[in-house]
Subunit: 338 residues, 2 copies
C-alpha cells in the first residue's frame, strides 16, 4: 500500500486514532443547539484571567488537559503538541499552554487550524514519531473582534453575512492505540484566492478553498458524496455553504445531502443573533469533539470528512486593501469496530 | 532502530536530505560579512511591491522558486510547503506563496521558524509522505518594526541590546534523494519562560529555550559538544550568546569552542550599526543556506546542530505587560559522503 494517495492526500498504512477529545466553550455556545454535547461550559468569558487573550489561552489549556485526561494518559506521555489560534503571533497558544511543557509545533491556519493540527498530529503518530500527540485549536469572540475588527466595547454593528467567533477550544489526543474513531487519511489544502475582499463575508472567501480540497479528496480516494455519512466544513455559514454546494455541483459532485457546516450548527440565529453562523478556530474543533464524534460513536455514522476552513486575512492585509484568500484541510475519519 | 530518540528527539531511519537551498536577502545583508555567500541580494527594499508586507512575501516566493530550481525539480514535484513568518496571521507567507499552489502547512514559530519548518518537512519526507517538501522562512525589517515596535518612518532609537531584523528569506527542498547534507534527526523545543519582559533584549528571552533544547539534544543523542563541528543558534546576539554559554556550562556542557550565532555572523556592528546582531525568521534561514551549508560542502564540517530561536511576543502581549517566552528547534545536519 502506498501512503501518498493521488495528488494531495495521504492514506495511512497504520492509521492513528482519536483517543481522547475535549470541547470547552463559553456561555453563548453552551446556550446554543449543541450546548448539552460540550464537555464544559465556562460562564465567565474571562475564565478568571485579566485579558481576552489570556482567557483564550486558558480555554486552550483546559481543552488540552481534558483531552489528555479523557484519553486516559498523562501529560508526560504526549510527545508533541500541534496548536494554533487566530491571534497575532498565536498569543493564546504561547501563553495558554507554555506551562504544559510539551514540545510544540506552533501553527497558523486561521480557522482551518483544527484540520491542520489533527493532520500533522496524525502524520506524526502514523509515522511512529510519537505514541501520542496533541492537536489543539482555540478562538474567543473578545480577542478575535479586537484583533480583526473593533473591540467589543465599541458595540459595532455587524452585517447579516458576518459570523460570530466561537469562544472555546477543542483538544484531540491522536494515538497509536486503537479507539472507536480512526484517522484513515488526510487531504491538505492549498491557498485559494478568488479575489473576495469582504472580511464581513468570510464564507464567500473560504468556500472556494473548501470546494477545491473536497473535490481533490474525492478524486484522490476515488469516492463520491454517497460514500460519506457526513461532510462537515468548518465555518462557511449560510452564505458560504451555498457557494460551496454550487461550486462542487458545477464540478460534478452533489454534496447537498451529506453536507453540514459546523458554523451553522453551533448557534441558532433566530434566538442568538449570530447572523450567518459561528466561526473561529474553535468552531470546527468543538463541533468535531462534541456532536460529530458522538454521531460516530452512537449515531451510526461510519465515515466523515471533516474540512475546517480558514480565511487568510489580518488587520494589515485588510487595511492595505488586499483580498482574503482561503485555505481548508480535510481529515477523513472512520468508525472502527473494535 | 527506533526513530524516537530519548525524550524529545527523532533520529530518522531513512534520513532525508537537503536537496536544494536558497538565500535571498536585502541590501544591508548583502553588504555584511556574508554578502558574497548569498544567492541573491535585492537592492530594492520593497522588491517591486507597494507594502513592506507584500515585499516580505516576495522575498519568500523568490526563495521558494530558487530552492526548487537549485534542487533541480519542478514546483509540481513539491508535495507540501511548511512556511511561516513573523507577521500577524503570517501575512507574508499567505500572500507571498499563494500563487505557488502547493499544499501548505502554515507555521508560527517566531524566529525559530526555519528550525520548525525544516523539522516538519524532514519528518514528512522521512515517513514517505512526500518525495520533496519545501521549508520556508522570511522576515523584513520594515514589516517587523511596524509589527512589533514602531514604523521605520518614526526613526525610533534602539538600545544596544536590540537586534536588527534580517530582510530576506531562506528556502530548503527536503528530499528523499541523496545529496551531500542529510538531516540525521531533530530535537523539538518546548516553550521556556524565565520571566524576561524586555522586547529590546530578545537574546535574553530566547537563550534559556536554546539552552534547554541543546541540553536535551546532547542527552537524547548521547553526544557532547566535542562531537560537533559547529552548533549554530538563530539570533541570540551578543547578549544571548553569553547567557546560553553560561547556562549550559552550569549544566555540565561547554559549547564555547563550537558555538556560533547566525545573528552575530550576518552583520558587522562597527560599520553597520546593527547593535546586538541580526534577528528574524530569515536570519537563521539565510545563514544556514549560505555560510553553514558552504562549510559543510567545502569547508570540512561534518556535523552541525542548527538551533533557530524564537521569542514569543506580540504587540498585544507586550502592551499587556506579559513576559516574552522563548522556543528553539534543533536540527542535526550531517555531511554525507556520496
Amino acid at each position: 500500500m502506498k501512503v501518498m494517495k493521488g495528488k494531495q492526500s495521504l492514506e495511512f498504512e497504520n492509521p492513528p486514532y482519536l483517543k481522547g477529545w475535549s470541547s470547552v466553550v463559553g456561555e453563548k455556545e453552551g446556550e446554543g443547539p449543541l450546548g448539552q454535547a460540550f464537555d464544559q461550559v465556562i460562564d465567565d468569558p474571562l475564565f478568571g484571567e485579566e485579558t481576552w487573550e489570556l482567557a483564550e489561552g486558558r480555554f486552550m489549556r483546559q481543552a488540552a488537559l481534558l483531552a489528555i485526561q479523557k484519553a486516559e494518559i498523562t501529560k508526560n506521555q504526549v510527545r508533541y503538541a500541534f496548536a494554533g489560534d487566530l491571534l497575532e503571533q498565536i498569543m493564546a497558544t504561547s501563553f495558554g499552554i507554555k506551562d504544559l511543557e510539551i514540545p510544540l509545533f506552533g501553527l497558523y491556519g486561521a480557522c482551518s487550524t483544527a484540520g491542520e493540527s489533527i493532520s500533522l498530529a496524525s502524520m506524526t503518530v502514523a509515522a511512529g514519531y510519537a505514541d501520542h500527540a496533541l492537536a489543539l485549536a482555540s478562538s474567543h469572540i473578545g480577542s478575535a473582534e479586537k484583533q480583526f475588527r473593533f473591540p467589543l466595547e465599541y458595540g459595532s454593528q455587524r452585517p447579516l453575512s458576518a459570523t460570530w467567533t466561537v469562544t472555546g477550544a477543542g483538544g484531540f489526543v491522536i494515538s497509536k492505540e486503537k479507539s472507536p474513531i480512526k484517522v484513515r487519511g488526510i487531504t491538505t489544502g492549498k491557498i485559494v484566492d478568488y479575489g473576495v475582499k469582504d472580511s464581513m463575508n468570510m464564507g464567500a472567501c473560504m468556500a472556494p478553498a473548501a470546494a477545491e480540497v473536497i473535490y481533490q479528496h474525492f478524486n484522490d480516494f476515488a469516492m463520491t458524496p454517497d460514500d460519506y455519512d457526513a461532510i462537515y466544513t468548518g465555518d462557511l455559514g449560510e452564505v458560504g455553504k451555498e457557494i460551496l454546494i454550487k461550486l462542487l455541483k458545477d464540478n460534478g459532485y452533489d454534496i447537498s445531502k451529506v453536507h453540514g457546516d459546523c458554523g451553522i450548527e453551533i448557534y441558532q440565529d433566530e434566538t442568538q443573533d449570530t447572523h450567518a453562523g459561528g466561526s473561529g478556530c474553535a468552531c470546527s474543533a468543538v463541533v468535531l469533539s462534541s456532536m460529530i464524534t458522538r454521531k460516530m460513536i452512537n449515531g451510526g455514522w461510519k465515515r466523515v470528512l471533516f474540512v475546517p476552513t480558514g480565511a487568510l486575512l489580518s488587520k494589515t492585509s485588510f487595511n492595505e486593501g488586499e483580498t482574503v484568500p482561503g485555505i481548508a484541510h480535510g481529515v477523513l475519519l472512520e468508525r472502527e469496530e473494535l
